[in-house]
Structure formats: C-alpha cells, structure tokens
C-alpha cells in the first residue's frame, strides 16, 4: 500500500502555475525528503494533500483515501509557519488538535500527556503557550501533529527556526516516528538533514518534479568523477570522458577526471595498474546531496530559462 500518491497534479493561481502536473508515489514506511528551492511548489503540494487547497487538476491519494477529513484523521501535519493559541496551556493545545482529528477528550488527553512527556515538556503541561520558549512551543506543536498516532506524518520545513541542538532532537524524533512504523515525509531545502534522514527523495523545481528515487539513484544523476596524481595523462583510459590538469609539481600532475556515465572508479584504478600508470594519489569523488541538488535544480532552471 502507498502512503501518498500524486497523479498529474496541477495547481494554478490565476495565470501562475504553482504545481505543474507532478506525479510521484511515497511508499508506506521510511522517510522521504521533499526537496526543492524556495517557490518550487512544496508547500502548495502539501496543502493540496491535506485538502487545505484543491488541485486545479490531477488526483491525490493519502493512505488510499482522497484528501479530506477521513484521511486527515490518520495524518499528522506540522506546517512551516507554526503557531498556537497564546492563551491555552501546552496540554490543552495538544488535546484540542487531537479532538479535531477525531479523538475523544480522554484519549487526546492521555496521548498528549505521554507525548509532551516524551518531548521533555512533562513539567510544562499546564503552562500557557505564551510563557513557553520558542523551542518549547515548537515541540508542543509537533506533539499536536503527532497526538493522533498518525500513519503518515507530513512536516513542512520542520527544522526552520530551530537551533542546532533542537534540530538534532527533531532528527531523532523523526527517526523514532519512522521506526514505529509511520511514513514520514518532510520538505526542506537544507540538504544535510535530508542526507542524514531520507531513504527516498522527491525533488521539485519551478513546480515540476525533477527527481524521484533513493539517495544512491540521486547520486547517479551526477557524472562520476575522481581526482588522481600521476606522471601520465589518464585521458586515454577506458571509461574516462575527460581529464583536466589542475596543478603540476616535480613532474607529478594532479588531474580532475570526469568519467563516462555508469563508469566505475574501481575499473579506472584497475586500468591504471594494467597500463603501468604510477599513481601517487587516487581519490574517487562522492557527490553530496547538495551537489546533486545544485546540479539538478541548476540544470532545470537553465533549461527553463531557455
């Protein structure tokens, strides 16, 4: 069963197309990163999934249900711009949202109490939201989105506004939620979080999907490369697309070698040995998610500009 399906979904605001016919599938379980630069359409997509706004065309399915109240009772959502009623206690805030998601008062109360306790707010249950620090208020809001033990958790820029310590705490919570069997999907444009947490990635740019797959598949989107130091020119080696000399010292040259798509750096190393090319250094380059993001989004935006 799939947790979330977008099928040719488009959203237009007047003449502006915010989401342009995107399709993707988020399988049940695991953590999916919903990536893209500002204005890529991430928040609009999440709002459509939650029935906050309706798509202009296309079909959306959450846990096998169309967006609506039935689906939202099984979903947890943390919006990018967070807020709570200032004159409500921490526990009452969580209980209120639990009840809106169909829980009884006692269910919401006991789940809210346990959740706030787990988030380290056990002693602040009856404190007014007004008197909580920003970090504490964000935890209360997170508890409000998780109180109904959702099967699908959608987090819109969950790390924004958090200090590094609380970012680490939130990362642990996200891992914990996924470990307990829920599907987590979060949007971000900070690649380090996605790199550490995500099994799968969906990348949007200018309202279009430009990538969907695992981190390994994402890395394959960039041509493999390596750097080596030798006395000989590696250009003629099999699998090498190009080699550029970067520096030279006492007869040794440092080369930046770009490989052909799907070529394996280990094969290049083996070819060096076979052809008697003496190496002083051989360093395959593993692209970061940041590199992949810049490469894919940059290429898309260049294409779009043309």
């Amino acid at each position: 069963m799939t947790a979330l399906v977008f099928d040719a979904v488009t959203k237009r605001y007047g003449t502006v197309t915010a989401v342009d016919g995107i399709s993707f599938v988020v399988p049940e379980g695991g953590i999916t990163g919903f990536l893209g630069p500002n204005g890529a359409g991430k928040t609009t997509s999440l709002r459509m999934a939650l029935n906050i706004t309706a798509p202009t065309s296309g079909r959306i399915s959450l846990l096998g249900l169309p967006p609506g109240r039935a689906a939202s009772m099984r979903v947890g959502f943390l919006p990018e711009e967070r807020g709570l009623y200032r004159r409500m206690t921490a526990l009452d805030s969580v209980v209120y949202f639990g009840r809106l998601k169909g829980m009884t008062k006692s269910e919401a109360r006991s789940a809210g109490r346990a959740l706030l306790d787990r988030l380290g707010l056990g002693s602040s249950l009856s404190k007014m939201v007004d008197s909580l620090s920003k970090g504490m208020a964000q935890k209360v809001q997170l508890a409000a989105s998780l109180v109904n033990a959702p099967q699908l958790v959608l987090l819109d820029e969950p790390f924004s506004g958090l200090d590094p310590v609380n970012q680490a705490v939130l990362e642990e919570i996200i891992i914990d939620i996924a470990r307990n069997g829920a599907t987590v999907m979060f949007s971000t444009h900070v690649m380090q979080h996605a790199e550490r947490l995500c099994d799968r990635l969906i990348l949007l740019s200018s309202g279009r999907k430009i990538f969907e797959g695992s981190q390994q598949e994402a890395r394959q989107q960039l041509p493999p490369s390596l750097s080596l130091v030798s006395r000989a020119d590696p250009t003629t080696l099999p699998g090498v697309e190009s080699a550029v000399a970067r520096s030279e010292e006492a007869g040794w040259t440092e080369w930046y070698v770009r490989l052909q798509p799907r070529a394996d750096p280990d094969d290049i190393l083996e070819a060096c040995f076979a052809q008697g090319i003496v190496l002083r250094r051989f360093e395959p380059y593993r692209p970061s998610l940041h590199d992949i993001f810049v490469h894919l989004v940059g290429a898309d935006q260049r294409r779009h500009a043309q």
Binding site: R47, R69, P79, R82, G83, R99, K101
Partner: protein, 499 residues
C-alpha cells in the same frame, strides 16, 4: 463531537474569558442599575413640608384642604390609568374614575372624594382585575403641612417670624410623616385682606411652584369671594361662581390604534432590534479579532489540516452565536429584573409590547429574524477577519459596515416613533441587510403574514448566497498574505475555486 462544535466550544471559551466580553455583558445591567440610582441621586426625597402662620385664622385650613384636594386629583389620575391597565370599567358609568377621557376639573375630583376616593375605587378594581395584574402603588404626598413649632410664637410679626423660621428652612421640620425639609413658610398678617397688607413667603431655595400656585390660587379665591360678598352677592352665590368648572371632554386616541399605544407596542421589538445591532457589533468585532489572531499566529494552516474551511467557519459562527445568545439572555434578564425593580410603568409597557407578540407566528418570526440577522451580519465580520492581517486593516472595512448597519436603523426608530405609517420601514424590510432590523421593529405594530413569508424567504435566499459567496472569500483569504483584497479581487474570490 463534530469538529464544528469543538471549534465553537473553544471559540466560546476564549471569547467569554476576555475582559471585553465581561465589560460588554455588564454594560446593560450597570446602565439599568445606574438608571435606578440616578433619580435618587438627583431628586428630592419624597415629601416636603410647608408651614403657615395665619394670624387671621381664616386661611390656614383653606390652604390645607386645597393641598389635600390636589393630592386627591393626582390620586384620581393614577386610578384612571391603573383601571385602564387592568381593563376594569366601573359599574357606575358616572364614576369619577370612568376612563371616558373627562377633564379632571374640581367637580370630578369632588365626586371622586365623595364616592370614597382611592379605597373605594381600588376595591372595585381589585374585584374585577386579572389576578396576575400588578398591584396599585399610590404616589406619596408631595406636600405636607407642618404645625407651628412650640419655639415659634403665634403672635410674631413678619420680621420675627422670618428670623424664627430661618433654622427650619435650612434644615427639617416635624410633620405627621416625620421630619421633612421645610420648603415654604407663609406668613399671613393679622390685617391681611385690607389695603396695604401683604402676605410673605420664604423658601429654602428649592421651592416647588406647584405648591406656590396652589396657595396663591386658594388665597386669591377667598379674597375674590370676600370682594364679591362686599359687592352684594351672597357668599354661596359668590362661591358657586368661583367654583364653576369648564365642562371639557378630553378625546385621546383609542387604546388599540393610538400613536402612543403603537410606540409602546413597538418597545420590545425595537429594543430587540437594537440589542441585535449591539450584540452583532460587539461579538462580531470579538470574532474578527479572533480570526486575525489565528492568521497572525499562523494557526490557520494547522486547523485547516484537521477540518475544512467550512467546518471552521461554521464552528466560529456557532461559537460567536452562543456568545451573543449569552449576552442577550443576560441583558434581557437584567432588563426584566431592572424593570420589575424600577417600576410599574416599565412593566406595563412590557405587557403591552408582549401583547402584540403573543401569536405563535409573531414569536417564530421574532426568533427567525433575530437569528438570521445575527448570522448574516456575523458572516460579514468573519470574512473581514479572514481578509485582514491586523485590526488596522480590518478598520478599513469595519467603519463603513457599522455605518451601513446602524445609520438606517437609527432612521428606522425615529420614523416608527414619529410616523408609523411611513413607507421607509416597509422598503427596508425588503432589503435583506436590513430585513431583520426592520421586521423586528415592525412586528409590534402588526405585519401581514404575506409580508412575513415574503421577507423571510428573501432573507433565507440571501443567507444561503452570503454563506456560499463569503464562504469562498473566507476560504481563499485565510492563507492569503499581503494587503486586504480590493473590490475586484474580492469579487474574483467569490467565484468557485478553479473557475
């Protein structure tokens, strides 16, 4: 529990926990309390004393009986009013208190006293009035005669009397009803009636001219009678000329159709219309502030991920409706309580007002127009809140809206009081924005069933249209940022999403 009810409950709790709610709730009871206390702050205590030192011995008793006669006249006026309220007609058609609009000249008052005065009239009224009608409350005597205190000699000169009476004019004097302020001291010299002799009156500075006129009239009457006797007329002839009353019949509008009656019958509906306007403005503004807070606190998106915009809107309307109902019930309760405490006249006005609203159609209409008026105006306030980022933004819409609502309503009250037959109330009844106010105001004076059905149907259509169109604006505006939409944008937001 339905999500709308959960939202309504939170809304109700939040609004009723604000200071402005309690201030609003207490405003009318405090006003009623203030009105109750006000007369006692500014009016003199009931009853004032007057003192006559009559050196001739011919006038003091005449003045006392004239003051008593005036008191009986006011009693008769009160009894006539009370008999009308109780729908009691005297068995004897010529009874002084028969409600035939006769002028209360001295002959009629004398007949009233002769027939037994208040006790006799009241006994007959009590036998025939409905058991639930309110009991008669006689007015207290305004003027009471004081005996000449023992420390004031009865043979003093005018100057001596002036000096002796001064401490009493500055304070109180003993009467049959206890110590009362001495309002007036009259000195009648021994030679009064002869040329050059004059009567002296001293006051405490707060004299009632009714009393002065009574005394002046009575003494003048005696002097004229003496003069007539000296001119050769017998004293009895002179007296009968002096007391000749003008036979006047007073023709007032018939009780069921008269202008005053119409105004009284309109009191409750007009008051309800006014309360509707007040509660709508007060609670609407509270609700508007709530939506602005939810928008500025970025709460809306979280809420909309749990419930639909329509459920959110309904919840808020139910919540604010409950707050309005609470305020209304409290105000009406205080008004009725205050009326019971403050006076007979207020209660009788309520009786008359309620009499026009006793049919099931009238009661249902009253509830319908009040609820739909409340709902239709609250939706507008709610939408303004959804479109505004701050109260400053909202003010741009609020002021015109309040003027649009209250201006014609004030005109409506003036017109209904001064000219109930004017066509403006009828025209306003067919404009849905004003239908509830105009119809509430007119219900007391009678509206045809066809007009009730027609305006109610139009109002329902308007309400449905408003709910759909402003519901779209509400939904589209909730997550909108930036300046409030202009008129053209507003019209565009009213179109279905995706159209």
């Amino acid at each position: 529990m339905m999500p709308s009810l959960i939202i309504a409950l939170r809304e109700y709790r939040q609004l009723t926990s604000t200071r402005s709610f309690w201030i609003t709730l207490m405003a009318i009871p405090l006003l009623i309390g203030f009105l109750g206390v006000l007369p006692s702050l500014f009016s003199q205590p009931p009853g004032n004393a007057y003192l006559v030192l009559d050196r001739t011995g011919a006038y003091a008793d005449r003045i006392a009986s004239r003051v008593e006669f005036a008191y009986q006249r006011s009693n008769l006026r009160q009894i006539i009013g009370y008999a009308k309220e109780c729908h009691v007609v005297p068995a004897e058609p010529d009874a002084a208190w028969a409600p035939d609009g006769q002028w209360l000249n001295d002959d009629v008052v004398e007949r009233f006293i002769r027939d037994g005065g208040v006790p006799a009239a009241l006994a007959e009224i009590d036998r025939n009035r409905a058991p639930d009608s309110l009991p008669f409350r006689p007015s207290p005597r305004r003027f009471l005669a004081a005996d000449v205190p023992p420390d004031i000699g009865k043979d003093l000169s005018a100057e001596g009397f002036r000096d002796a009476i001064k401490p009493y004019l500055d304070g109180k004097i003993a009467t049959s009803q206890g110590n009362l302020p001495l309002m007036l001291a009259i000195y009648i010299p021994p030679d009064f009636g002869k040329p050059g002799a004059s009567l002296s009156i001293w006051t405490n500075g707060r004299a009632d001219f009714d009393l002065i006129n009574l005394i002046n009239g009575e003494i003048g009457r005696v002097l004229r009678a003496d003069a007539a006797a000296e001119a050769g007329l017998q004293r009895s002839q002179a007296a009968s000329i002096e007391w000749a009353g003008v036979p006047i019949s007073l023709i007032s509008p018939a009780p069921e159709n008269g202008a005053n009656r119409l105004v009284i019958k309109s009191i409750l509906p007009l008051a309800l219309g006014y309360l509707l306007l007040m509660t709508v403005i007060v609670t609407g503004t509270m609700m508007l502030q709530g939506v602005i807070e939810e928008r500025s606190n970025k709460l809306v998106e979280t809420i909309l991920s749990c419930v639909s915009a329509q459920q959110f809107m309904c919840g808020k309307l139910i919540g604010v409706g409950a707050v309005g109902l609470t305020i209304l019930v409290a105000w009406i309760g205080c008004a009725v309580g205050g009326g019971l405490y403050l006076g007979h006249e207020i209660i009788s006005a309520f009786h008359v007002s309620l009499a026009g609203l006793q049919s099931p159609i009238a009661i249902l209409s009253l509830i319908f127009y009040f609820s739909t008026g409340y709902l239709s105006t609250s939706i507008v306030f709610l939408t303004i809140g959804a479109m505004s980022d701050s109260m400053q933004d909202a003010q741009g819409y609020l002021m015109p809206l309040i003027m649009l609502l209250s201006g014609p309503f004030v005109a409506l009250i003036m017109i209904l009081v001064n000219d109930p037959d004017s066509s403006l109330p009828v025209i306003l009844s067919w404009i849905p924005l004003y239908t509830p106010f105009a119809m509430l105001a007119r219900l007391g004076i009678g509206v045809s069933p066809a007009e009730i059905i027609g305006t109610a149907a139009l109002m329902m259509l308007f309400l449905i249209g408003e709910f759909v169109l402003l519901g779209r604006v509400f939904r589209a505006s909730l997550l909108r940022t930036g300046q409030p939409p202009r008129l053209l944008t507003l019209l565009r937001l009213m179109r279905p999403e995706g159209a």
